[in-house]
Structures are given as structure tokens and as C-alpha cells.
């Protein structure tokens, strides 16, 4: 960047600063769009005590001098200095903060568009496309695990994976092209195509596996969707409040207190979780409550994990009957109108038996032991939101599940982090299927499939030109006509 001013200051001053920076525009040459100086709050819009404002462009020096009250020259580059930050016109002190700048080479000011700093770096060839997206995520990283994945993508691991696919696909296309453009009078044999068939199958399998990561990378970016569901008055809202350690939802002994979805963001062991409390599932004549139940069911369908909360005082005493009760209960809570007989998936839900404080100590232990033996039930946690009993065990279980859902960002394949990547990769596999469809009938259309696949990958890694394909052809084959 040409020049950055990083100002540490209290948030309240940022708005004022924004106004000041805007007002400096008139004083400097109003050049072409590309010579414009841009500024933005770089430290995000979440809760933060410290703000970083970044300025880039030809008028940065003037802004620095005007606002840091420097009359001659500029402070040494790349050195942080404590300065009063002033309104350049009125000289009123806005805040005190650290100021530093990085030298650039080139000669208006306007607020930066979203991502404009990164785009400038990308355009200057300093970052690859996947790296830019990694940087975007880093800026938005709210949790440690997200930060690690963002860093990993920044270092280009995901980029390298896509590059590798792109490279192999390029070779496949080059070999098919060689077969089309040269085989009749050259020594390119049909064997070349068999090799391409195998490579295309391998690629398809790899991309499909990558796509089947169960949206782990995306979850890590946008948070795991966890929904609390169950019958009315089971203690769902209490569970939410206990988890987020604040009264986010209203709790009362009246059944049907929660009528809409209450959402809150949590950090569970470094993983982002979006927790939703929903209306208790029951047949109701109240229109508002019925809408609440509909929304609850909708939420459960989109959820990565559903916590089915059951009031354990409602359970039959006999363990086998309790198990049957729970099976039936899960079915009624998780059922949808379209699929009334839905089979719940054990790894998509967690049974939370609440209000254990209402059970005698030995009864609780027996129940827990007996229920765990019953096959076909999801994992069970016994908790009391009232006394916090069993909460630690529940949190450990929840953390484990969230971690599995997100995948460990530092092992295995770099996971998909962008819905955009997913869409292009899906197009890519569809195009590879076109190759197989036309392989024997029309090689031009088969090659078109490979070309489309490469274009889809190119939307992630950058485009591939015809000349590159020809270069591979001439490297791999003795073309001599």
C-alpha cells in the first residue's frame, strides 16, 4: 500500500475521524478514480475497544500531517509514534493514538469500498484469489479456529490444491486437444485418451470427496447452526441462557413463553456456534404460537445439530419404557409435515435430559446407565440448568460434536470455506461428466466438457489461455507435420 496510517483510538472517535477524513478531500487534487485516496475502519464493526483506520492513496501524507499535527516532513516510516489526533481544520483533539506509515511511490479521498484494500493488493499481484478470500475471512475471524483456517488459506494451501487440480485438468485438455489437432498424421495413439479417461475419473473422485466435506469449512466460517428444540416447558430457554451466560431469552414457568426463534452467537472451545432457541413443539390454536412452531421446525431442518431438550421428570421410571418414550418423543419433535415418519439421524442430534435436580441422586445414575445401553438413541446428556449439574459433561460432548462438524482446520484436506468455491467445483464436476458422456461419440464436445471444467476451476484460481494448452501439447508430443 502506498501509505497507511494506523490510529489506535476509542471507537467513539472513529465517526468524527471519518467526517474529518472526508472533509480533507476538497483540499487535495480531485484526480481520476485510480489516483483517489481511500480510507476505512479496518478493525471491523464488532465489539472492540481499539480501532484501526487505514488510509491508502496519494493524499495519505497530507492526511497524516494534517491529523497528527506534523508540520514538516513525515515521521520515519514503519515506526509507531504516539500522537494526538486532531481535526485538520479546527485543530480540536479527537483522541490520542499510534500513527505509523509505510512508504509507497505514487500522487481526493473517499471511503474504501468493501474489500478495496485487498482488491488493490490482489490487483497489484501481491495476493492470489484464494489468498484474498482468506484475508477477508481473517478480518472477520471471530474465533481462534476460524483464525487458523483463514491463516491456512492465506498461506495458499487451498490455493495449491485447486492449482494442482487445474494443472492436471490442463494436461488432460492438452492431450485431448493434441489428439484432435494432430493425431491423424502424427504418432499420437488412442492410448493417450485412455490415460485422460483415468485422470478425469481421479479428478472427479477427488473433487467430489472435497465437496462432501459436509460443509465443514463453510461451517467454520459462518458458524455451526445448533438448534434447541423440544416440548414446551422442557427448559430450552434456560439451556440457552445457561450456555450464553446471560438472560438472552425470557424464561417462565408458563408453557409457550418462547414464540419466535431467539438466536445468539457463541464460542465453544474456539469454534463459532450460532445457537437458536425455538418455540416448544405442541399443537396450539394460538396463531402466533403456531407460526412459532412452524419456524422451529424450519430451523431444525437447516440445523447442523439439534439439541432435543426433555424434562426428565416426564420420563417413565422403567428404563425400557423411558427409551420407548424418548424414541416417540424424538419422532414427534423432529418430524416434518412432508416426512411425518422421518428417521432421525443420531449424529445430527443430542438428547438433553433437563431438570435432573428433580430426580433423586441414585435414580439419575440408574437412568443414565440404562438409557446409554439402548441402541438407536442419540447420545444423551443429563443436566440441570437450575444447579448447573452435569453442565460440564454436556459442554464437553457439545464441543466434541462441534469440532467434528467443523473438522480440524489444521489437518487433512483444506476444507471448503466459500459457498462460491462450492458452486464452481460443482460446475466443474458436472462438466467432467460431459467429457465421459461424449468421449466416444463426439470428441469436440468431450473436450468442451474439459474446457468448461477448467473454466470453472479458473474462476477460483485464475484463467487458463489456449497458449498454455498448446505449450503442453508441444512439450509432451513429437508433433512433426
Amino acid at each position: 500500500m502506498l501509505l497507511s496510517v494506523r490510529v489506535g483510538m476509542l471507537r467513539g472517535a472513529v465517526h468524527k475521524l471519518r467526517t474529518r477524513l472526508l472533509s480533507t478531500k476538497g483540499g487535495v487534487t480531485d484526480g481520476l478514480a485510480d489516483a483517489e485516496t481511500i480510507f476505512a475502519l479496518s478493525s471491523g464493526h464488532g465489539r472492540c475497544g481499539v480501532a484501526v483506520v487505514r488510509v491508502s492513496g496519494p493524499a495519505s501524507a497530507a492526511a497524516l500531517r494534517g491529523m497528527a499535527g506534523i508540520t514538516r516532513g513525515l515521521p520515519p516510516p514503519r515506526t509507531a509514534l504516539l500522537h494526538s489526533i486532531r481535526d485538520p481544520q479546527s485543530k480540536e483533539v479527537l483522541d490520542r493514538g499510534l500513527v505509523l506509515w509505510f512508504p509507497g511511490s505514487v500522487p481526493g479521498m473517499r471511503p474504501a469500498e468493501a474489500g478495496e484494500f485487498t482488491r488493490r493488493a490482489f490487483q497489484a499481484g501481491k495476493l492470489g484469489l484464494t489468498e484474498v478470500e482468506g484475508l477477508g475471512d481473517l478480518i472477520h475471524a471471530e474465533t481462534e479456529a476460524q483464525r487458523r483456517q483463514a491463516l491456512r488459506q492465506m498461506s495458499g494451501e487451498l490455493g495449491r490444491l485447486y492449482q494442482d487440480w487445474s494443472h492436471r485438468l490442463k494436461r488432460c485438455l492438452a492431450h485431448v486437444e493434441a489428439f484432435i489437432d494432430f493425431s491423424e498424421d502424427e504418432l499420437i495413439e488412442d492410448g493417450v485418451l485412455n490415460q485422460v479417461d483415468r485422470s478425469v475419473c481421479d479428478l472427479q473422485a477427488e473433487i467430489k470427496r472435497h465437496l462432501m466435506d459436509e460443509r465443514r469449512g463453510e461451517r467454520l466460517r459462518s458458524g455451526v447452526q445448533v438448534v434447541i428444540a423440544g416440548a414446551t416447558n422442557a427448559g430450552k430457554s434456560s439451556l440457552l441462557n445457561t450456555l450464553c451466560q446471560r438472560p438472552a431469552a425470557i424464561v417462565s414457568p408458563i408453557a409457550g413463553t418462547t414464540r419466535d426463534v431467539v438466536e445468539t452467537a457463541l464460542d465453544i472451545g474456539g469454534f463459532p456456534v450460532l445457537l437458536s432457541d425455538t418455540a416448544g413443539v405442541r399443537d396450539s390454536t394460538d396463531l402466533v404460537e403456531r407460526e412459532g412452531v412452524r419456524r422451529a421446525r424450519e430451523r431444525m431442518q437447516q440445523a447442523d445439530l439439534t439439541l432435543v431438550v426433555v424434562d426428565c421428570a416426564q420420563l417413565p421410571c422403567d428404563a425400557q419404557r423411558a427409551a420407548d418414550f424418548l424414541q416417540e418423543h424424538l419422532r414427534s419433535v423432529l418430524a416434518t409435515e412432508e416426512q411425518p415418519d422421518t428417521v432421525f439421524s443420531a449424529d445430527k442430534c443430542l438428547l438433553v435430559l433437563n431438570k435432573t435436580d428433580l430426580l433423586p441422586e441414585d435414580g439419575r445414575l440408574t437412568l443414565e446407565r440404562e438409557l446409554r445401553r439402548v441402541p438407536g438413541l442419540p447420545p444423551i446428556c443429563l443436566v440441570s440448568c437450575h444447579t448447573s449439574e452435569g453442565l460440564q459433561g454436556f459442554l464437553t460432548e457439545l464441543h466434541g460434536r462441534v469440532k467434528t462438524l467443523c473438522g480440524n482446520p489444521l489437518t487433512g484436506d483444506p476444507t471448503l470455506t466459500q459457498a462460491r468455491h462450492r458452486a464452481h467445483l460443482q460446475q466443474c464436476t458436472a462438466a467432467l461428466a460431459q467429457y465421459h458422456r461424449y468421449r466416444d461419440g463426439d470428441l469436440a464436445l468431450a473436450a468442451e466438457g474439459l474446457r468448461l471444467a477448467l473454466t470453472s476451476l479458473g474462476r477460483i484460481t485464475g484463467r487458463v489461455g489456449a497458449e498454455e494448452i498448446l505449450d503442453i501439447i508441444f512439450k509432451d508430443f513429437c508433433i512433426g507435420k
Binding site: 486437444e177 489437432d181 494432430f182 470428441l443 469436440a444 512433426g480 507435420k481
Partner: protein, 682 residues
């Protein structure tokens, strides 16, 4: 059409002399220098557009000569021939006249990449081209050598910009003026011939070297950047000395397919066609190459040669220990020579003889003319605009090998386009464009002017990103209508024939669409098509025609009332049905490219002082290449996406000015129309 041609040919020698001596005029609209594939197409196209045209060539006798291989077309090249024909060019019809062995390459690989190709009779090809040129209205042919290209001094308002005014002929101080000059000097620009250790100036054996004056004007007066390339040709072999029993026989297609959309058959009858033979090199060939390397000047120099048309020397050196193919091709019906495709070489003649005798079928072969190499200058084509006009010299057009290409078809394609552009410029007609989204000719021109060349440029189907739309079968629909309505280089006879074809195809596709049956009924009506039992939807005739197992003939016999009127187009309809869904998918991408191509980058931009954030490297590339549109800039190597965003921004900012100029131009055109209208009234 073909029989009429015979009568014209009989009198052609007479015509030659009369035309040649009859040059009294001092001024032409267009002068074309050079009578090769580029020059002949350029001269004929300029005359068709309506320009008084003069073709100057060293020897009228060698007009239309095939200097290297006796063949036309092939994969990629065949597409160019079809497009040239669609624009009323000469070479497709000449190929149908002179062809003695027709085949469609890639027959099993899909109609988009079929490669129509023919072995030619050299004599017949020359005859056809000469008779065609001499029968072209507004075209004069003059035998002579051009001593100098006449250009104005640079315009003081536009430094470095010249205007061409004409040419001066050698052997006298006679000058002929013209508004446009098309240079198609092939390998003659500072050309040198190489055999063994012997070097002599020239561009082709048996022809005088071209004057140094021309090279001088281009380099010194106009300051054009040039590069050097090399190529070669194989020795010609005496047919009787070849042992064909040791070679593999390759017969032609049983039914020759003509190149031209106007021809239903070729001059050569199917049974009169001649075969080709295939043979392979042996380790002995490699040995001779290595032994004679120290005597081989051409191969030792590092001038860029083509990777795809290499000499036998570079083939065995780059891929040692292999057998390389050698095709033995007939040179003509009455010729007693053979052309050994793949044996281009530049070693001393005695080593050439030793080499060919290492090949089993050639073990006692005799050489008629030894092979030789040519090194020549080319003008870096990034200095040309999309009409193939030199950017800094108004009215000067370049086409063919002078632009760094190789191959007859590539030369002819540029020739036709330069001829059309030169004529339109001379006659003050509005400029026209040919996009890479609509033709291989467009791909060729765009690649040359926006990317330049580092080795002789040859067409491949893989260069065309919209290959499935740019097929040999539909070149007429893509180009003939435009050629008549916009370019002015197509005769009305061809135009009305294409209109008929277009309308019939449209009606036939509608007829196919109108036949809609349930899957069950299709299975009942046409059991042969093997439609899956799991299919329940209803399908149109067009859907069913996409099946591998279905031909238009089958549908026509099932629905004779609706479809039999279109039997003449059965193959085209089948191709259209299969490809249409794919082409529809590509339309969006084509539109994006066309949009970018419509964003012109002014030619007088000073990229070094442009107040846009561009790296020095990018500025240098842009300054060197001067892409004419944003689309062309995106295809440059070394141009970052950032640079494109900034250029786009720049174009948008300056766009308003552009629009203003356009409206002024439109006004001029309106006035012209009113004038024409009043003329009609008078």
C-alpha cells in the same frame, strides 16, 4: 460452374499478356504486392469490394504456385478454407478444381473438428487461380518488382504517423500511386536460402530475391520492429524410384467432399483420385542427421522455427530413438514427382540422398530437387490494427508470412481480410470487424495483433474458444450473409443461395420441433432408435435427432410429409440438432467477449503517462502491443486483472467522448445516405 471454367482456362495465357502490358494507369485504389496465397486473395477481395486494384508480382507465371506442400486444408486449416469460401475467396473453389485426393480428417471426432483436406495438382491449382484473377473485374495484374514503398513524411501533428501514397517499380523510375497498399511478400523480406553450408539471398528457389528497398522502408522509414523466422521444404523425389510395396497405402475418401459451398462435386471424379503412402524413419535417418550436423548451417542457427512443422533434423534431435512418420504425397495427375511430407531438411544434397535411402520405401529413391531452408524477416504483427493495417502508416496493410504465420490457409485468410479492409479504406467506406467469436479468421487476426508471434503461427482448432459454434458446416451462415450485407466482398449469387439455405434450415428445424410424440409413441414408431424404457416425457423430432442412433433420413422416412422437403440438408440438420444446446450455453460468454471487444482503447494513448495505476511492466506491454480493444488487452500475456479493471475504468471515463465522435460519424453517414437517395431520384 466447373465446365464453364474449362473454356475460360483455355484462353488464359492470352489474357495474361494482354492484361500485363495494358497497364497505362498511374493510380489505383489498392495495390497488392505479391502473388502468393495472401496476395491473390487480397487482390481478388479488394476488387470484389469495388476497388480498382493492381496486383504486382515478379512472375505472372508463378501466381498461385504452391511453394511447399501440394495440399490444402486439414484440421483447423480446413475451417479457414471453408470460411474463405463463405466470403467468396478463391482457395476453396481452387481446391475443388485442383484436388486429386480428398479426405475429411477427424471424421470420428465430431463435426466441429472435422478437417476437410485435399492433395492438389500444382498445375491445376495455379491455372485456376490465374484464370480467376484475370477474369476479375477491376483487377489488373502487372509483372514487375517493387523497388520502394512510397510514404509521406510524418504528420507534424501526429508524430511518427505516415500515410502510404504508392509504390515505385524497379528498372525505371515509374511510380504508381494508390490509397491503400497491401504487402504480401512472404519469405522474401530479407530472405536467405540455406542448403548445407551454402547461403544465398532469396525467398524461394528459382526466384530473384526481392529488393532491399522495401525492407529498408519498413524498418528505417516507418520504424517497424521485425523479427526473424525460419522454415524449410523437403527434397522432391522421383516417383518411379520409390518402392511403394514397402509403404502403407492410404486411399482417399470414397466420395470427395468439396470445400466450396457452391460446389456439389469436385472436378476430380471419385475413381480418378490418387492415393497417399505412409512410411516411417529408421535409426539410420538419425545417424545421417547427426553425422551431417556440422555441415548444416540452417539447423545450427537459433532462429525460431515452427514446433509443429519441424525439419527432420529437429524432429530426430528433439525426440531421438523414435520412428517418425513420412507421408509420400502425389504432386499432380501428370507429375512424376512425390512430396515427402515430414522430411523437410537443409543438409548438403549428398547427405539428403543418404538420409532418404535409410527409409525402406525410399531405399533407391532419386532426388529431383534438394530440400532447403529459408530464413526471413517478419514484421511483428502487434504493430497492426484489427484491419491488418500498420498502426503508424495509414493505408499500409500486411498479410501472410510477413506477419509471422505459416501455411497457405493462414496466408489466404489474412489476404482476404487485408484486401477487404484496404478496399474499404481506399473507398472511404466505414471500417468493419470480424470477431474471434464468429470465425477462425477472427481468431487468427486477433491472436496475431494482440499476442504477437514467437514462432511461425499455425491455426489449430484449440485456438478457437468457441469451436463448437465455429464449425466447417456452418461457415456460410456465419459469414456469407455478413460478407454481402456488411463487408461487400460476396457476390449476390452466393448471397441468395445462402439465404435459401438459411431459410430452409430454419423451416426444417421448425418442422422437427413440430413433431412431438410421447416417449412410448417414439418407441412404437421408430424401434430402431433404442430409446430407453425409462423415458416418459414427450420429445420433439429435434430432441430425438440428438440421439446417436438417429439420422435425419430415419426421421424423414418416418414423417415423409413433414420432413422429406429437407433431405438435401440431412447432414447439416443432424449436426445442428446435436450442437445447438451447447452453442446456446456459450452465447452468454460470447456476449461478454463481444461487449469487451466493443470497448475501444484509443490508439494514441500514451501508456507511460496515463494517470491510471499500472505497473511499469504492464505499461510497457500495453505500449508495445497497443491493443485496440479491452477484449484484446485481456488476452495479453503479462496483463494483470488489476490492469484490466483500471483500463476498464479509464475506458468508461473516456467513453463519453467516444460516443460524441460516433454521433458525428453517424451524421456523416446519414448525409451520405441522403445524397445517395437524391442520386436515386435523379
Amino acid at each position: 460452374m466447373l465446365t464453364k471454367r474449362l473454356h475460360r482456362l483455355q484462353g488464359f495465357l492470352l489474357l495474361v499478356s494482354r492484361r500485363a502490358s495494358n497497364v497505362a494507369k498511374q493510380q489505383y485504389d489498392v495495390i497488392v504486392v505479391g502473388g502468393g496465397h495472401a496476395g491473390t486473395e487480397a487482390a481478388a477481395a479488394a476488387a470484389r469490394v469495388g476497388a480498382e486494384t493492381l496486383l504486382v508480382t515478379q512472375k505472372i507465371h508463378t501466381i498461385g504456385a504452391l511453394s511447399c506442400n501440394p495440399s490444402l486444408g486439414g484440421v483447423g486449416k480446413g475451417q479457414l478454407v471453408k470460411e474463405l469460401d463463405a466470403l467468396d475467396g478463391l482457395c476453396g473453389r481452387a481446391g475443388d478444381w485442383a484436388g486429386i485426393h480428398f479426405s475429411i480428417l477427424n471424421r470420428r471426432k465430431g463435426p466441429a473438428v472435422w478437417g476437410p483436406r485435399a492433395q492438389l495438382d500444382r498445375q491445376r491449382y495455379r491455372e485456376f487461380i490465374q484464370s480467376e484473377l484475370l477474369g476479375t473485374h477491376r483487377l489488373t495484374v502487372l509483372e514487375g518488382s517493387v523497388e520502394e514503398l512510397l510514404v509521406t513524411e510524418p504528420n507534424p501533428e501526429k508524430p511518427g504517423c505516415h500515410r502510404v501514397t504508392g509504390i515505385r517499380l524497379a528498372g525505371g523510375s515509374r511510380s504508381i500511386s494508390a490509397s491503400s497498399v497491401v504487402l504480401t511478400t512472404g519469405t522474401f523480406l530479407s530472405g536467405s536460402l540455406f542448403v548445407g553450408q551454402t547461403t544465398s539471398p532469396g525467398g524461394r528457389i528459382g526466384d530473384a530475391p526481392s529488393s532491399a528497398g522495401l525492407s529498408h522502408t519498413l524498418r528505417e522509414a516507418l520504424g517497424l520492429r521485425t523479427g526473424r523466422l525460419r522454415t524449410g521444404t523437403p527434397p522432391r523425389i522421383v516417383k518411379d524410384s520409390v518402392d511403394f510395396s514397402q509403404a502403407e497405402l492410404h486411399p482417399p475418401d470414397e466420395r470427395p467432399s468439396p470445400f466450396s459451398f457452391l460446389n456439389t462435386h469436385t472436378r476430380c471424379k471419385p475413381e480418378e483420385q490418387l492415393p497417399c503412402h505412409l512410411t516411417l524413419t529408421t535409426p539410420g535417418v538419425e545417424r545421417v542427421v547427426r553425422e551431417s550436423l556440422h555441415l548444416n548451417c540452417h539447423i545450427q542457427q537459433d532462429t525460431k522455427g515452427p514446433r509443429y512443422c519441424p525439419s527432420i533434423e529437429s524432429r530426430v534431435l528433439r525426440f531421438p530413438g523414435r520412428k517418425h512418420q513420412v507421408w509420400l504425397e502425389p504432386e499432380g495427375v501428370t507429375s512424376d514427382l512425390l512430396y515427402p511430407q515430414g522430411l523437410s531438411m537443409t543438409m548438403p544434397p549428398d547427405a539428403q540422398l543418404r538420409l532418404i535411402r535409410e527409409i525402406p520405401a525410399l531405399h533407391r529413391a532419386e532426388i529431383h530437387t534438394p530440400g532447403y531452408g529459408v530464413q526471413y524477416d517478419f514484421v511483428c504483427p502487434t504493430q497492426l490494427d484489427p484491419s491488418l493495417q500498420v498502426k503508424n502508416t495509414q493505408g499500409l496493410f500486411l498479410a501472410g508470412q510477413i506477419n509471422g504465420t505459416t501455411g497457405y490457409e493462414e496466408a489466404a485468410a489474412q489476404g482476404l481480410w487485408a484486401g477487404v479492409s484496404a478496399a474499404r479504406s481506399a473507398l472511404a467506406m466505414p471500417p468493419v470487424t470480424l470477431s474471434r467469436t464468429e470465425s477462425y479468421i477472427g481468431v487468427l487476426i486477433d491472436d496475431l495483433i494482440s499476442r504477437g508471434v514467437t514462432e511461425p503461427y499455425r491455426m489449430f482448432t484449440s485456438r478457437a474458444e468457441f469451436r463448437t459454434a465455429l464449425r466447417p458446416d456452418n461457415a456460410d451462415l456465419r459469414l456469407t450473409l455478413k460478407g454481402f450485407e456488411e463487408l461487400g466482398c460476396v457476390s449476390s449469387q452466393r448471397y441468395y443461395e445462402t439465404v435459401r439455405v438459411r431459410d430452409s434450415l430454419r423451416d426444417a428445424l421448425e418442422a422437427l420441433q413440430s413433431i412431438v410424440l410421447s416417449a412410448a409413441n417414439w418407441r412404437k414408431k421408430m424401434p430402431d432408435i433404442l430409446m430407453s424404457e425409462n423415458k416418459f416425457t414427450s420429445l420433439s423430432g429435434q430432441d430425438v435427432l440428438q440421439y446417436n442412433t438417429v439420422s435425419f433420413e430415419m426421421l424423414a422416412s418416418a414423417f415423409p410429409d413433414t420432413l422429406s422437403p429437407y433431405m438435401e440438408f440431412s447432414q447439416r440438420l443432424k449436426i445442428e440438432a446435436v450442437y445447438r444446446p451447447h452453442c446456446d450455453l456459450q452465447r452468454k460468454e460470447i456476449e461478454r467477449i463481444q461487449k469487451e471487444e466493443n470497448m475501444a482503447l484509443p490508439q494514441d494513448i500514451d501508456y507511460f503517462s496515463l494517470p491510471v495505476s499500472l505497473s511499469q511492466e504492464v505499461r510497457e506491454i500495453l505500449d508495445r502491443v497497443r491493443p485496440s480493444t479491452l477484449g484484446a488487452a485481456t488476452r495479453l500475456q503479462g496483463i494483470t486483472p488489476a490492469a484490466i479493471v483500471h483500463l476498464l475504468n479509464y475506458v468508461r471515463h473516456t467513453g463519453q467522448k467516444e460516443t460524441r465522435t460516433h454521433s458525428k460519424y453517424d451524421k456523416n453517414r446519414e448525409e451520405l445516405h441522403t445524397e445517395n437517395a437524391s442520386l436515386v431520384k435523379l
